[in-house]
């Protein structure tokens, strides 16, 4: 049975694949890949965009994301602490962007791992200010609950570090987060292959966010299509329910049939 579209903060998404916009070889190739992926939610790093309203031709990434087709989800990548993230989010709204924010606070520019303490503080502040907050976090079930409690719209735990293509290295923690969640769980980061995306969806994730694997593919369009199919397949399998995994064969003529 289908459980219907994904709903986040009252908005429905028929696609459960979200896309990032970094690392593409050109803004045109990014635009085409977005279309091929079927996505309805696209995140853009505010540090790449022009927030002054001057339509800077040298920082025009937003012009390649059609707001009538996609919910544009500004992200705070580059922020090292809560104060910087909050400041960026406010600037984005002032620049006319949606009052949604993918909260990313990674003080460490090397592994880009999120700071849980600053993220929680910023989430609390931004929720109070009326933002729809989608926080990027490590796969920490307690942190996920704490964020729910301050009112975030989703949690976005990582499968493995950003851009690593290592898949769901945090699988056991993700399983707990999904089982316990009262808000949608979006698996973000580390998804390097369509099979990883399918695995996340089979596990019960509500959506996945993919960027590097599509952006640096030799054919981003086809890879976007491959991820689209993988997410749909994984979701369908989750909704139908996968069979139990066993260590032994299961005979089709049961041993106890003589009792019937």
């Amino acid at each position: 049975m289908s459980s219907g579209p994904l709903t986040i903060a009252g908005r429905s998404f028929s696609s459960r694949l979200f896309l990032g916009t970094g690392k593409f070889p050109s803004p045109e190739s990014m635009r085409d890949a977005l279309a091929a992926s079927g996505t309805q939610m696209v995140t853009v790093a505010l540090r790449r965009a022009d927030l002054t309203g001057s339509k800077d031709p040298y920082a025009n990434i937003l012009e390649f994301v059609d707001p009538s087709k996609y919910l544009l989800l500004p992200n705070t990548s580059g922020a090292m602490n809560a104060a910087e993230a909050v400041r960026l989010a406010r600037l984005a709204v002032a620049a006319g962007l949606p009052k949604w924010v993918k909260l990313e606070i990674h003080p460490d520019p090397r592994f880009l791992l999120p700071d849980p303490i600053e993220t929680l503080a910023a989430a609390e502040q931004l929720v109070k200010e009326g933002f729809v907050v989608l926080p990027y976090i490590n796969a920490d079930p307690v942190l996920a609950k704490r964020l729910e409690e301050v009112g975030t719209a989703t949690v976005m735990p990582l499968g493995s570090p950003i851009g690593s293509h290592r898949g769901l290295q945090t699988r056991d923690q993700l399983r707990i987060i999904i089982e316990q969640a009262t808000v949608p769980v979006v698996i973000d980061a580390g998804i390097g292959a369509p099979s990883h995306a399918a695995e996340a969806m089979e596990l019960g994730a509500d959506a996945v966010l993919v960027n590097t694997a599509i952006a640096v593919a030799s054919d981003p369009n086809r890879m976007a299509g491959a991820f689209r199919q993988a997410v749909e397949a994984g979701r369908a399998a989750y909704e139908v329910g996968l069979g139990e995994v066993r260590d032994t064969a299961s005979p089709t003529s049961p041993l106890t049939a003589f009792l019937n």
Binding site: G22, K23, F24, P25, S26, P27, L46, R47, R48, A49, D50, L51, D56, P57, Y58, A59, G78, A79, M80, E84, R87, L88, L91, P107, D108, P109, R110, F111, G163, H165, T212, A215, V216
Partner: protein
């Protein structure tokens, strides 16, 4: 404890032996597993590894694209002043060189920065010689504040300072600091730096740590190739990078691999780093340090730059001028000579005022650039290689 202690304990002779003696099977094994340690890195610098250059470059390209994407971030240097109290044998700005000097006024700096901004640059490197009288900390702060009003990302390449002196510059809006050790060979360093505060090797070596402590978000390091053995410089730079990644974990690190260019003073390089070795070095750095930015300047000629862009480089300058006022002619009426720290005006009709074709000012540059393509032309070249030129990758809100 700082990097100085770690540097003094580096087994440089052992590493150099490894770089000389590694054989093809060592190289194949390290290429298969990925270099993890300095001895691995040394093997990738070996003559044996040169025989695997294509494989090395392919791996470097893959790692770079995965980590940084198919983008090249662009920046431009803006020289504030060519005054200097140091004598460095290889540098055109050396105190005792009788060059035409100037320190731009803050208004002149804004004029130059606006010109760069009009060309697309949103990331500017402010460069100045070391001269407390002309390039004071207060002056630097005023320049940063004025430029940061319209340029989101500002880095500095100026004389090393104390942490406390860096803090106001960070607050004024500077987010990056570049300081090259020039050479990691103490003996050659002493021979090259014969006067001025730059003689203090250790003070310079600790500079990136002081900058990180002051809050700089991006640190740039490197050696100037042409002074000491390139493998020694590479090994020490790699050790320095590894140390900074651990100890200054909040700072994004970039490496530059400048090779000496002709300059005033006519210094002849003491050593050579050939083009093939240069490529090998970039690829080896990339494999050891996948998360570190690698910067390519206009010191290198166009054809070489075109070839290097897809091999591990992440940041590039374009259309650079190394003379203060070089973009607009700002400050050209104030050029002079400086003798023992005092300005000596040029005679009114001195030949040194005569305009030189193709130059906006007669102030002397630090060195000759080798790729004079305009930024827009270079950006088109980046696109033709299947990469996006990124001008803005930082927002003022992050460094305010």
């Amino acid at each position: 404890m700082s990097f100085v202690a770690a540097f003094n304990a580096l087994p440089i002779p052992d590493l150099l032996r490894r770089a000389a003696e590694a054989d093809a099977s060592d190289v194949r094994r390290i290429l298969a597993s990925g270099p993890r340690t300095l001895p691995d890195f040394a093997a990738l610098l070996s003559p044996a590894a040169a025989g695997h250059l294509e494989t090395l470059c392919l791996k470097a390209q893959t790692v770079t694209q995965q980590r940084f994407g198919k983008v090249i971030r662009l920046f431009a240097p803006l020289y504030l002043s060519n005054e200097c109290v140091n004598n460095c044998a290889y540098c055109g700005f050396s105190r005792d060189n009788g060059i035409l000097r100037v320190t731009l006024s803050v208004d002149d700096v804004v004029r130059e920065a606006r010109a760069l901004c009009d060309q697309g640059f949103r990331n500017i490197l402010l460069v100045a010689g070391e001269h407390p009288k002309f390039v004071s900390n207060g002056y630097l702060r005023e320049c940063i504040e004025a430029v940061h009003a319209f340029v989101p990302s500002i880095s500095l390449e100026v004389g090393p300072m104390e942490t406390a002196d860096y803090v106001p510059l960070v607050h004024a809006g500077a987010d990056g600091l570049v300081v090259y050790q020039e050479t990691y060979d103490r003996e050659i360093y002493a021979r090259m730096h014969t006067a001025g505060p730059k003689r203090n090797f250790d003070w310079r070596l600790e500079c990136p740590e002081r900058a990180a402590a002051a809050g700089f978000r991006r640190l740039g390091i490197g050696a100037l190739h042409g002074l000491a053995d390139w493998r020694l410089e590479a090994l020490a730079t790699a050790a320095h990078a590894q140390y900074l990644l651990k100890h200054c974990w909040k700072s994004m690190l970039t490496l530059s691999i400048p090779r000496l260019r002709p300059c005033a003073g006519e210094f002849q390089p003491l050593t050579q780093l050939g083009d093939r070795e240069f490529v090998q070095l970039i690829a080896a750095f990339r494999l050891l340090l996948p998360d570190v930015g690698i910067v390519l300047s206009t010191r290198e000629p166009a054809a070489l730059r075109n070839g290097l862009l897809p091999l591990g480089v992440t940041h590039a300058s374009a259309g650079s001028h190394t003379e203060p006022g070089g973009y607009t002619g700002a400050g050209r009426d104030s050029i002079h000579q400086t003798v023992r720290g005092r300005i000596v005006e040029l005679a009114a009709h001195s030949s040194e005022w005569a305009p030189i074709e193709g130059r906006a000012t007669n102030a002397t540059g630090q060195f000759d650039i080798a790729d004079d393509r305009a930024p827009s032309e270079f950006a088109d070249l980046i696109r033709s290689l299947g990469y996006e030129p990124v001008w803005k990758d930082w927002d003022s809100a992050l460094s305010a």
